[in-house]
Symmetry: C2
Amino acid sequence: MLSIDAARREDVPLLLSLIRELAEFEKLAHEVVATEPLLEESLFGARPVVEAVLARVSGEPAGFALYYHNYSTFLGRPGLYLEDLYVRPEHRGQGVGHSLLAYLARLAAARGCGRLEWSVLDWNRRAVEFYEAIGARPVTGWTVYRVTGEALARLAAES
Amino acid sequence: MLSIDAARREDVPLLLSLIRELAEFEKLAHEVVATEPLLEESLFGARPVVEAVLARVSGEPAGFALYYHNYSTFLGRPGLYLEDLYVRPEHRGQGVGHSLLAYLARLAAARGCGRLEWSVLDWNRRAVEFYEAIGARPVTGWTVYRVTGEALARLAAES
């Protein structure tokens, strides 16, 4: 019995543990510095910047999605950007990820968003095949650039 | 004399014309369906989803940046995502783009964002060299996937 519901404030510790599981799976656990207070502020603070939804199977947490609005200047509209999608290993292959994506597709439609987007690790072939099967296509010809840490501080110090 | 200021409601027609110039430069003009009302709603509506800043040289519009907040689950913090950065051809090579990026880096710092990110067209070597020079680095190993149009509607119709 699968249920999909918007995360609530009391779900923050569960969400953070699922984020850590996802990071382990992605071999990026060393990058997780988020804390419960930071996550709670981001989701439920005075100015929420992100939203989350939880999937449960017979009441047991099975996975989650965390998302925010991005924007297309050319469309003049917001889109929905899926920052994280995770299904616990013991619940994979049962349609949980599919149901989470369908929930987000309905939300995108309800909010007038023309696109649902996310990023996938290139080595995660199982995820790529799943995404291709539901009709998602890679956005090619663009590279994401990032400035962070000392380079960002140096840039901020310039005029 | 370069000035950099947050865009105002009366700048919407100018911004849309600059967005169209950018799309021409990117050979993507056919993708622009944004209108002044859509852009005004996105920037200055009841729930703004995006912000913009204009660069002027001696009062003449020279370029713009349009941005919103993205989010890193691993950091537990928002970042700043630069959707568009454009400098008119006659104002290139004079530090306008650099000044726009420095403005955004200061904004990122003031808002507690750990990252400033954007996407660049792979064939735009001049832009890539400029971004590398200020310390930005490509985010590799990830591919963006997108579901839109009929595939998005089909997904939304599933449970």
